[in-house]
Amino acid sequence: MAGMSIEELENMARDCRAEICKITHRAQAGHPGGSLSEIDILCALYGTRLRVRPEEPKWSDRDRFILSKGHASPGMYALLAKRGFISHDDLESYRVLGGICQGHVDMKWCPGVDFSAGLLGMGLSYGLGCAFAAKLDGSVRNAYVMLGDGELQEGSIWEAAMAAAHHEVGNLKVFVDRNRIQNDDFCEVQMRMFDIPAKWAAFGWAVKVIDGHNMTEIVDAIQWMDSITDKPAVVVANTVKGKGISFMENNPAFHGAAPNDEQLAQALSELGVSA
């Protein structure tokens, strides 16, 4: 798994994008926008770095990946199916009664999910706890957390950020999916956050800003995170909500709306994937 090439990662991300469109279309509900913005990072992380065992998802010494923006579950499920944590058929259970692919990622239901999310602002504290546990165990494992940019408006994020820096938790690694859109509108309208990298730096974190859709930059940033061991590290990834599907890109309407039949067909053709 570790060591997928850039081209392989890009192909995987394209396939996941198609899957995101298909499963939200099938459910006629869900969150495609934030799934499409996060997916390149998820692919790079699982394809080059994360120490996990698809055949043994509860392996106790695995790295943890916490999708704190748990509404963006279609991206997570598409990836878990690609990596063999769940089957391709399981994707059909998204939002279906009794299905393992619950509306929001749920660790009780789905193999490979490390945190039951859908409640913004909680994943960073949880990841900090996982990182503390790894240190207490004397383990090399890391805790990775994916945050939304709107999610940064929750005060609890900054409680966790302060605590992580205070305790010099070097095995806590964060991505911010900086897609500039939240639920109702653009972040700029809802709540301006001004200089996000400067905020993390002021809280004592190592900070790097990247293009969250440039696979080479993402892979490099994941390696950079490994080089930071004495403090928590955050990668602020500039992304495009709905990335890869023209009519979803930068469109707040596709935060929480599924494509219809024609839109799905268009999306798949834009991706160059057959239905």
Binding site: R95, L97, Q102, G103, H104, G118, G150, N183, D184, M191
Partner: protein
Amino acid sequence: MAATRDGYGDGLLALSDNPKVVVLEADLGKSTKSLHFRKANPDRTISCGIGEQNMLLVGAGLASSGYIPFASTFAIFTERAFEQMRNGVARPNLAVHLCGSHGGTHTGTDGSSAQSIEDLAIFRTLPNVVVMHPCDDISTKVLTCQLPELGKPSYMRTARNKTPVLYDGREDEIQIGKGIQLTKGNDVAIVACGVLVHEALEAAKILSVDGINASVVDMHTIKPLDTDLIDRLADTCGAMVSAEDHSIIGGLGGALAEHLISSKLIPLERIGVPDRFGESGEAEQMLEMMGLKSHHIAAAAKAAIARKA
């Protein structure tokens, strides 16, 4: 058919003329329906970002300064600001009006993380706070429009999905704190709130086939409880069923039990979400799975009647 959250949005918009009314949002105005007020009154709408705890206390500050703040988010996320509501709003008795939309398992496929089944219980424990859960868009609008006169804090749960409209042309019957008797019968009283009022009405039809006459009550205000009505129903029916899309613990059923235990000892059966979390499923599937459908209510009514002394 209409959703109670739309009634809330209509109610806020109708309050536009009151210059003291201020609306607070936490990035869910499109969902809770405060967006209509925002569009009409951008200068009196404050975006608090995704920050529910901050929103509640901004509301408290506004209320203490003579404004009438209406704050809304999903019911589940009002819970995050519970201590703000408790210490910053209820304790000083500041008239902040909190609305939690998408309450109950009826919310559907988002799954358990979004299905609040404990909001009525927790807010009911707070002194000074009025707790409501109306069943249709008209009553939601009327109750919302009565809130500026209330003079104390409130919590109102609305639902995501559409349900039948009951009160078109009957606006005058709706008053905070007064239950509404929808059918009259002397065998059993079914006291319901929110989405389950409609299931209770269906249950009464099922029961009538067996010759059982049920009084169905829409108890849209859970606190203060309309105890006069409850006592009257206890006297005439001698058996009661509560029905709510909420945990079996501490909601409307809990409120009825607490009252009846020290006033009229009649059999009470409670229909509510058993002591468990929900999951992803369509609204109707969730009601069936949690035991909240009309046939469950009818069976509970028969059980209550069978326990009459």
